[in-house]
């Protein structure tokens, strides 16, 4: 444990010239005598500080604790992370690091092989987090921004303003290693499985933050499954384009949007879970389509079996706002999901009176919102929960939202309390059980698209991320489970 006094001494460390620093792991180059990393005295005995670009194959083994100091780019090769490895970020990177925040960036010329297990998940967290190293939980939902986050970049298609290769948000521009996108839809960035990402979201510039997990142009060859994102000052997960499919993703306590999709993501997501704080959070889903809105590549992702718990009755978000939004020409589908406990309205589908806006696509049948359960405290019915786009400089086609409401109703969306078995946002409460009432969650099921089934999506017998009669996949390994939120 690092005491408050020691903490201050970390911060008091003065400017030191660059060079090679102490590394205690056999996989790392031998330390050059006389040079010591400025933070070398602040890490655990088996600690290794990563602060330089990684080139070629490298293994992070679970008998060491790794520290990320500044931007650590994996420039080439495979970064293998053994199950059970803990990787910690510094809030205030040292003077020998690159960049102003700590972040691990898998560039598109490299891959990551982080296959944790339920028993031994891989944990990316803050160096303040004692629980990750076997102690008791000492951090909570208000401890965001302790490091930046994990970024994975690939070569699958993206599009913005005519460009098909882009620089990822969160890294200063002009950084060639931060480019993502390409023409390889089936590209693989490797594997992320049973990975926990905690206390992220440091800001690198006004309005420019790194989310818990950022996926830029990640291709369908990549495995992203069983991911736990716990506390982020920005989005929980943000997907910029690409074709990757994601499964069993939990986002708890993101201060911006839990699930943020943009720039033409074409994959699917199944078994997604969102838990919001009662304050300081935005959409459970912010789903943007394209840049510009009428670009030919826009987000067409399908979301199956999502359970989203909003801010709750005590939420501080404006009651006129919707829990989720589909906009900028996005055409995302939502099937068999439960969006509940939001404090205001339910959904906005942007309607600017344009042939290519999200409303036109939805009403035209491009995407489906089918078989979902909605419940919130600022609305009384499906019709009432629709937020019409306000008319400012344009004329919406559906100024009251009645057309959207009618279509939602026709497509088996119901406004009813799914009666989750327990909602709790309190550490150690053991009050969270996100399984719904079985009766409500098993009627009027939508069919998972055949194309997605061939890619690994599962025809389920229930709505939401959790089987009303089965076990909760969050159990045991996620931060929600380990910190005692889960029943």
């Amino acid at each position: 444990m690092i005491t408050a006094k020691k903490f201050l001494s970390i911060l008091a460390i003065s400017v030191v010239a660059s060079g090679m620093y102490a590394c205690k792991d056999n996989d790392d180059p031998a330390p050059e005598p006389g040079n010591k990393h400025p933070y070398a005295d602040l890490i655990v005995d088996n600690g290794v500080i990563l602060y330089e670009p990684i080139k070629g194959n490298r293994t992070l083994s679970n008998d060491s604790v790794y520290y990320i100091d500044g931007y650590v780019f994996v420039e080439s090769g495979e970064l293998k992370i053994e199950a059970g490895t803990v990787i910690m970020g510094f809030e205030n990177p040292s003077d020998v690091s690159e960049g102003n925040e700590s972040s691990l960036i898998i560039t598109r010329n490299a891959t990551i092989n982080a296959a944790g297990t339920k028993e031994n998940p891989i944990i990316f967290t803050s160096e303040k987090d004692q629980e990750a190293l076997g102690g008791s939980p000492n951090l909570g939902p208000s401890n965001s921004k302790l490091w930046a986050g994990l970024i994975v970049l690939g070569k699958a298609p993206v599009f913005a303003g005519g460009a098909t290769e882009l620089q990822i948000e969160g890294i200063p521009d002009g950084e060639a290693r931060a480019m993502y996108g390409g023409a390889e839809a089936a590209h693989s960035s490797g594997i992320l499985k049973y990975v926990s990402i905690r206390f992220t979201g440091a800001e690198i510039g006004p309005g420019d933050e790194i989310q818990g997990l950022t996926l830029g142009g990640v291709g369908s060859g990549t495995t992203i499954e069983d991911i736990d994102i716990f506390v982020s000052a920005d989005d929980g997960i943000e997907i910029f384009g690409g074709t990757v499919n994601i499964k069993r993703i939990s986002v708890a306590f993101a201060e911006d949007d839990a699930f943020d999709f943009d720039l033409g993501w074409a994959g699917f997501g199944q078994y997604l879970f969102t838990l919001q704080k009662s304050d300081n959070s935005d959409f459970v889903g912010e789903w943007d389509g394209a840049d510009p809105d009428d670009a030919s590549l826009y987000t067409t992702a399908r979301i199956y079996n999502w359970t989203a718990i909003g801010q709750g009755a005590a939420g501080t978000r404006d009651a006129g706002f919707s829990a989720m939004v589909i906009r900028d020409g996005g055409a995302l589908s939502v099937y068999n999901s439960i969006i509940t406990d939001f404090n205001g309205k339910g959904i906005e589908i942007e309607d600017r009176g344009e042939s290519f806006d999200s409303y036109s696509k939805y009403i035209g049948g491009e995407n489906k919102i089918t078989g979902n359960i909605w419940f919130g405290h600022g609305a009384t019915s499906i019709l009432d929960m629709v937020v019409p786009t306000s008319a400012d400089g344009f004329t919406p086609a559906d100024p009251t939202g009645a057309t959207i409401g009618a279509k939602l109703t026709a497509d088996e969306n119901v406004f009813t309390d799914p009666q989750l078995k327990g909602i709790s946002r309190t550490n150690g409460s053991a009050g969270l059980d996100p399984r719904p009432d079985a009766a409500a969650a098993t009627t009027d099921l939508a069919t998972v698209l055949a194309a997605d089934v061939t890619k690994g999506a599962v025809q389920t017998t229930y709505k939401g991320a959790f089987d009303p009669a089965g076990t909760v996949w969050l159990a045991d390994w996620t931060t929600l489970a380990r910190f005692g939120y889960l029943k």
């Binding site: 400017v15 803050s126 401890n143 005519g162 460009a163 006004p206 304050d279 600017r352 400089g393």
Partner: protein, 971 residues
């Protein structure tokens, strides 16, 4: 200051008492062919048999009792001139400049009457006629006639010049990068971290003797010359004692007496003279404060161990900005006002040596208010009919208050064939601003509700220029004039505690924060430049030719820092009764940002309750230091190939050694290390003694500035795109060709036509990075650019039309420019995907396709009346680049016709029209009235699409009425 004024006053009284009731005749004598000054010209007064000799500056000075005299000007091998009826009044000054010509076969003396030659406009024109390069000028007389208050404004009069943002000169469509600003022959540094050229508005017109703009390169000029070199000559050795005092009051019809005018509640004791007294300075506690650099860890530590000592330290840190409010005060700012005092004298010793000095003080306070300040942003669709999509729409007011104080002290001593001078010029301007955009929507991020925006700023710019210079005449290599100068220049731009607040407000009236807009922050920026310069110019006049040669060295060192501290509400819980959330504060910024709502507010059981906190968002890479060093040497010769054809040929070698280092991180420094040879060839063919043809060709260069080389991102607080530096940027090489025909029908008349062409290799331009997910400018070298243009200038008295209008004078100049900067494929290939009609070029930034100046003046000297009507019009100029499918942004002075959308209906410019009338009483008192911006234009930037002008920014500067009382004596 009052004491200084009193001392000065008594000094003048005593000086004036000591003077006898005489008058003065003074002037400069030049070679009629070359324009070179002539030293040692004899001036004989026929009536008294007394006389004088011109000094090293070519000037003479005669004290005579009132009466009428005949003067004879004679010089070896030159034709003598006799001037009759030179009238000398008690206490009066008769200016008599003269050009002498080399003796020809015809030995007849030239006799003229004094009334045929009088003012210094003539000398500026004569300078123009005889100069080796193409040049235009504006005299102090003309500056005061039009009533310009500073050098930047005065530049509007110059052919081919326009002024950007009220400060920066655009010559021949080329922005500040391509123009040099010099004061007394030495380059002035920039006080703006983003710019190359000096802010000319820092130099008050009362300090200016004349401004000359050279438009073609000769090797004795700095090589970073393309558009032009503006040389401001400050007042030097005066002709006699003078004292000018003027005071003015002004009314801006938008600002003055307007109770909606907003100001920063922080008002320092010295704000009135443009200095921050420390009220806004960066608190020491905020620098590298561990709680703010690692806020998240600090909060976690306190949560885990709410130790009282730590909480107390934490709170002290978090509350450093609690007394820096976001609220603003409303109230009328009062009248604009100014005071100028200038004096000088000339003393003669018995042996003909002369000593002179000038002292000047000026103070100015102006207020401006834009009651319709508009800032909009659009997202562009591919679809042609739905191209312009609103992203952010905001409007409100902007209140600006500017205070300037400055002074000049110079002294010169002439002895024999030598002159030595020293001068110190100081100027400080403090600009306070409150941008308050309280009406707005943000459809790009918010489906409903309003968006409000406030920026409170203070910017202090100062310039201290001290110079030692000398001029000597020696007899080697024929006759050689040696001129040298050494300067130390300190310039700074200091922006303490800029406060930014952008907040959405729900339909229900609740304030909140969104991720799309940065949380409120305090921003500090400080730039300091130290510059040392030295130069040596030698001019050797041989029988057949003149050689000029010399060297120049300049080194500028810069230190730049930028700090940002941003509000964080991460640790707060709105459920805590102790904490007042942004929504609960409902716009009461004083309570929300107050000390009582910041830091740890108390404890609940054993856990701490957090209020607002601040994190240090300073990017270490935004602190940079660097230097610019230029060493140059040149040689040029002037030859008469025939009696009518003169050529100036030569070359300059310039070394560029630039380096910029960010103070931390591993980024490579920006570096330029280069040697350039810059040849120049000029031909001047005298068609007759009234007309010249000129042809010139040269190579010049342009360099990036340190900001452009420093690899950091800076944010535009007005909603523009951020901009990032480029350490790999290169200098630009330029080839220039100029042709000019000029006719000087009479001494004060001119007709000139110029054609010019320039080719740029690697021009430095800003490009919107198309691969960035959020639009961001970067500085890049485009492959090449071309620019061509024409200028026509015409000045004439109107007496030829009818003697009734003989007191009217008319001047017009017109400039047409066409330029093409090729888009790089990195931009073009990508943007073409979303806008198939995209052109693969754009003009230079700030280049207008045309500029027109019109001047109509009426002088009735006998009755003391003079008045001037001045109009300036420029065509729409490129203001910013468009992103993706969006059109580029242009700026025009127009008129908003669509009040609903704040749009212009046509981009035909509205002229800036200024009028001045002045009446002189009994030679000592004068009253002048200026009316500026009579037509009351709006400044609008827009993106044009399908014939519609989508406003991105707009404001209405208003009309200004100024009444000036002047008192001047001279003996």
């Amino acid at each position: 200051m009052r004491n200084i004024v009193t001392i000065l006053f008594f000094f003048f009284i005593s000086v004036s008492a000591a003077m006898a009731q005489t008058g003065t005749v003074a002037g400069t004598i030049v070679d009629g062919a070359s324009g070179d000054i002539l030293i040692g010209v004899n001036i004989r007064v026929k009536q008294t048999n007394g006389g004088a000799v011109t000094g090293i500056d070519g000037k003479y000075n005669l004290k005579l009792a009132p009466g009428k005299y005949t003067l004879e000007f004679s010089y070896i091998s030159y034709q003598s001139k006799i001037v009759e009826e030179v009238e000398v009044k008690a206490g009066g000054l008769k200016s008599l400049d003269m050009a002498l010509s080399q003796k020809s076969v015809d030995l007849k003396q030239v006799v003229i009457t004094a009334s045929a030659i009088d003012n210094n406009e003539v000398s500026v024109l004569r300078l123009q006629k005889n100069s080796l390069s193409v040049q235009d000028g504006i005299s102090s007389q003309e500056i005061s006639k039009i009533g310009f208050s500073n050098s930047a404004e005065s530049m509007k009069r110059v052919t081919g010049a326009s002024v950007e943002g009220g400060k920066f000169i655009v010559m021949r469509g080329l922005g500040d990068r391509y123009s040099i600003s010099q004061m007394d022959g030495m380059s002035l540094p920039s006080t703006d971290p983003y710019r190359n050229s000096a802010s000319m508005d820092l130099i008050p017109s009362t300090m200016v003797d004349n401004i000359v703009v050279k438009k073609t390169f000769t090797p004795d000029l700095p090589g970073n010359f393309t558009g032009g070199a503006v040389d401001i000559t400050t007042k030097s050795l005066p002709d006699r004692f003078y004292l000018n005092v003027s005071a003015s009051v002004g009314v801006n019809d938008q600002a003055t007496f307007n109770n909606n005018f907003l100001s920063d509640p922080i008002q320092g004791k010295t704000d009135w003279i443009g200095f921050d007294d420390g009220s806004r300075k960066l608190p020491d506690l905020a620098r590298k404060n561990p709680y703010m650099t690692s806020l998240g860890s600090s909060i976690a530590s306190i949560q885990n161990n709410p130790d009282n000592q730590m909480i107390s330290d934490f709170n002290r840190s978090m509350r450093v900005f609690a007394d820096r409010p976001y609220s603003v005060a409303a109230g009328s700012p009062g009248l604009n006002r100014s005071l100028n005092i200038a004096t000088g004298n000339r003393f003669k010793s018995g042996n003909g040596n002369a000593f002179g000095f000038n002292l000047g003080l000026n103070y100015q306070h102006d207020n401006r208010f834009y009651d319709n300040r508009v800032i909009n942003n659009y997202k562009a669709n591919i679809s042609n009919e739905n191209r312009m999509q609103r992203f952010l729409y905001s409007s409100g007011t902007e209140s600006l208050s500017s205070a300037t104080i400055g002074g000049i002290a110079s002294a010169a001593y002439q002895f024999g064939k030598n002159e030595i001078g020293a001068s110190v010029i100081y100027n400080n301007t403090g600009d306070q601003s409150v941008l308050n955009l309280d009406k707005g929507t943000f459809p790009g991020a918010l489906s409903s509700g309003e968006y409000r925006n406030r920026v409170i700023g203070f910017q202090q710019r100062s310039l201290l220029n001290s110079q030692l210079k000398g001029k000597h005449r020696a007899s080697f290599f024929g006759e050689t004039t040696i001129e040298w100068a050494a300067n130390y220049i300190l310039s700074s731009q200091y922006e303490p505690d800029l406060r930014f607040l952008g907040a959405p407000v729900t339909a229900a009236g609740d304030y909140f924060f969104v991720r799309e807009v940065p949380n409120p922050f305090h921003f500090f920026r400080d730039l300091k430049d130290n510059q040392y310069m030295g130069k040596l110019d030698l001019t050797s006049s041989m029988k057949k030719f003149t050689l000029k040669y010399g060297g120049f060295i300049s080194r500028k060192e810069r230190d730049f820092t930028e700090y940002r501290y941003q509000l964080s509400t991460t640790g707060t819980d709105p459920a805590d009764a102790e904490y007042l959330s942004f929504g609960e504060a409902a716009g009461d910024f004083d309570r929300f940002f107050g000390a009582d709502n910041t830091g740890v507010l108390g404890k609940s059981g054993s856990s701490a309750i957090f209020g607002n906190t601040y994190e240090d968002q300073t990017q270490p890479s935004n602190l940079y230091e660097g230097y610019e060093q230029v060493i140059a040497g040149y040689l040029m010769g002037t030859f008469n190939l025939s009696p009518k054809l003169k050529t100036v040929i030569g070359a300059r070698i310039e070394t560029t050694d630039y380096q910029v280092n960010v103070k931390s991180g591993s980024r490579a420094p920006g570096k330029i290390d280069a040697v350039d040879v810059l040849p120049s060839l000029n031909f001047i063919y005298a068609l007759n003694d009234k007309a010249n043809l000129r042809l010139s060709g040269s190579r010049t260069l342009a360099r990036p500035n340190m900001r452009e080389m420093a690899p950091f991102i800076s944010f535009d607080l007005l909603g523009g795109f951020p901009i990032v530096g480029n350490p790999d940027i290169e200098r630009t090489n330029i080839t220039n060709v100029d042709f000019r025909y000029e006719l000087f029908p009479k001494s004060d008349e001119l007709f000139a036509v110029s054609l010019f062409y320039k080719n740029f290799q690697n021009p430095i331009v800003t490009e919107l990075d198309a691969t960035s997910d959020q639009p961001q400018y970067k500085y890049v070298n485009s492959q090449q650019a071309n620019l061509a243009g024409a200028e026509i200038e015409f000045r004439k008295g109107l007496g030829f039309i009818d003697p009734v209008v003989k007191n009217f004078k008319f001047g017009v100049n017109f400039t047409y420019i066409y330029s093409k900067v090729m888009l790089r494929s990195a931009e073009y290939d990508i943007r073409k995907q979303v806008n198939p009609d995209l052109k693969n070029w754009r003009p230079f930034a700030a280049q207008s396709p045309y500029i027109v100046n019109l001047l109509l003046s009426y002088d009735q000297k006998e009755k003391g009346w003079e008045s001037t009507l001045f109009a300036n019009v420029f065509g729409p100029r490129l203001f910013a680049n468009g992103a993706g499918a969006a059109p580029d942004v242009y700026e025009v002075y127009g008129r908003i016709k669509d009040k609903q959308e704040n749009r212009i209906k046509s981009n035909v410019p509205v002229p800036e029209l200024n009028f001045r009338i002045r009446k002189q009483f009994k030679n000592q008192f004068s009253v002048a009235l200026n009316v500026n911006n009579i037509l009351d234009y709006d400044v609008v930037t827009y993106q044009e699409h399908n014939g519609e002008y989508f406003t991105t920014q707009a404001f209405n500067p208003g009309r200004v009425y100024k009444l000036t009382l002047g008192y001047s004596i001279s003996k």
